[in-house]
Amino acid sequence: MKKFLIVFVVLASVLSLATIKIGVVLPMTGGIAAFGRMVWEGVEVAHELFPDVNGETIELTVFDNRSDKIEAANAVRRAIEVGKVNAILGEVASSYSLSGGAVAEEKKTPMVTPSSTNPLVTSGKKYVSRVCFIDPFQGWAAAILAHENLGVRNVAIFMDVEQDYAVGLANFFMQTFQELGGHVFFEYYKSGDQDFTAQISDAMLTGAEALFIPGYYQEIALIAIQARQLGFFGPLITGDGADAPETISIGGDAVNGLYFTTHYHPDSPAVTENAKLFLTKYKEKFNKTPAALSALGFDAYMVIRDAILRAGNTDREAIAQAIRTTSNFPGATGIINIDKEGNAVKSVAIVKIEDGQFKYDTTINPQ
């Protein structure tokens, strides 16, 4: 009996070594569950198209961070200690990637976030990287959109004081917008707030021409509704936090005319082979057009897989280094180059909500 057990354990560990495990840490429930779902859809498409690498199967396990900062760290810890993953794909929001990334860094496990844009997520780290642009660039692009494309000079920034993403993006927007000669002032709120009437009234009092809301879709939708109800008709501009169908389903007519910066739109011109493949397979599987986060989830999976391919083995250190040398990789969201700091240099797609649809407006390229 004992011998059988020993043989069984050895076989099991050898067999489990033969699969490559990726821990997918996402907000599957909670405030930004819509984002988690979208990323997961993209990951699923990539996994179906490319289920193995170097002759070994890739096994995905999902760890829900429940849209909570503390759970974000716990989920990564569980993935590494219990799930024994070779790499982490996640998390979505910068606050959670910061919290979970600290654990990944401590445990020397490579982590690729599909969508966290706050620069602090990768700064000073060796193991955490991303396939998306960072907020200094997104804030700059949003300021160009506001000042040049929309022609406004006086913007009220509605900042979610609880989210690192929002605080960072608000400040980067402010820097560029002020350099261009515009004027900003801040209104504050917290994630989960439902009443913004006082802040909107104050913004109107101080003469705002437009609102910049660098937060998440739950609050964006409600702010838009209440702004229109209170008689504010100026442009609404947001970051990629609005890129979820819930912005339209909850916001309704109030969000028509809203502009936002994001990573990808199926109609944007720069198209790689993988972009076409992703689009076709996604439409076939889910019968709808993909959101930016799905394309980014796809890219995160592909970049991790490509790193494993180039590393030639499943050693976490090797994978982490290979990720940082990703060069000219054709992702669904464009060509991905990951620099020494773990950040990707990409273009920004500007999307406008019109007639209850996300319509591609233009692209702003990095200078």
């Binding site: 429930t29 909670g30 009437t197 006082a198 802040q199 009234s201 104050d202 739950q218 008709f233 909850i250």
Partner: protein, 313 residues
């Protein structure tokens, strides 16, 4: 702040306050009869809203009927929660019931997350469009961004009028039940002394169950109107409003229904005025509400309209 903004903030504050008042009424009634702070109140309201949502979207039941059914379902839910969670510990120290209530709250929230998913849903298409509109006083017409809109003027949410009317009706019905019916008399007896009431031949458990059902129905009404004003459903939607209603009830005098109404309006007003006068403090508005709670408990724990009672040992 100019006069226009001040008046608009006043309207917004009263509007928010009216919702807190309505939710606080149910909270305070349960406390007044049973001396139990039902922390699950806000979550019962969340369940009622989801119920109405699914009735309309999946069951294709007309909205008004769905609302009525949801209110009745919430009453049933309240009764069941009492039977399952509070009745077994009826004779235990009061703090046990309090902790159980918190447990029920967590249970309902987690249940909603698992069954309904954490993704927020829109309540906008459930009720007729006019309830989303604003009554505009003053202002003038202009063409902005290609549309004919009214600029300026004071805006009052139409749903706020509905809330005021519903609150008034709820108060009248509640008053009638408590003072003009037998069950109401039984409720008042239970609030004074449970053992003696049961000695009088009253089915105390039944009366308590009825009290919870009534409180939950009030929570449901508050919740449905909350969702009409802020049309976004998600499992934790009742958490903060429930807590604010609790603060409003304590502020006005827990156990006093008039206190709940006054407390609700005052809390809504202070919350909005805080942000209006000190926009930089907007991130602290919830903290400020809890500060009010601490202050009132330190200075006048029986609340604004409550009476100080001495417990003789």
């Amino acid at each position: 702040m100019n006069l226009y903004t001040f008046l608009q903030n006043l309207i917004n504050g009263l509007s928010l306050g009216s919702l807190y008042a309505l939710i606080a009424i149910g909270y305070t009634m349960v406390y007044g009869i049973l001396r139990l702070i039902n922390f699950a109140h806000g979550d019962v309201f969340m369940m009622a809203v989801y119920f109405a949502f699914f009735l309309v979207t999946l069951g294709k039941v007309p909205w008004l009927i769905s609302f009525v059914i949801a209110i009745l379902a919430a009453a049933l839910l309240g009764f069941t929660i009492d039977r399952v969670a509070y009745k077994p510990i009826r004779n235990a120290p009061r703090v046990s019931a309090l902790i159980t209530a918190i447990g029920v709250s967590f249970f309902l929230e987690s249940f909603a997350v698992v069954v309904f998913s954490g993704i927020p849903r829109s309540f906008r298409n459930i009720y007729p469009k006019f309830l989303n509109n604003m009554l505009i006083l003053g202002g003038h017409e202009e063409v902005k961004y290609g549309r004919n809109v009214i600029v300026g003027g004071l805006r009052i949410p139409i749903v706020s009028f509905v809330i005021l009317i519903v609150t008034a009706i709820a108060l009248v019905i509640l008053w009638w039940i408590i003072y003009k019916t037998k069950i109401g008399m039984a409720m008042r007896a239970v609030s004074v002394d449970i053992p003696t009431t049961s000695l009088m031949g009253v089915n105390v458990d039944g009366v308590i169950g009825f009290t919870f059902a009534l409180g939950s129905a009030l929570a449901a009404i508050g919740g449905l109107l909350w969702a009409t004003r802020y049309p976004q459903l998600w499992p934790y939607m009742g958490f903060m409003p429930g807590l604010k209603a609790f603060i409003a009830a304590v502020f006005g005098g827990i156990g006093s229904i008039q206190g709940a109404v006054v407390g609700g309006f005052l809390l809504g007003l202070t919350e909005i005025m805080l942000v209006g006068f000190f926009p930089k403090m907007a991130g602290y508005r919830d903290a400020f509400a809890f500060l009010i709670l601490i202050l009132i408990l330190s200075v006048k724990p029986e609340g604004l309209l409550g009476k100080r009672s001495v417990v003789k040992v």
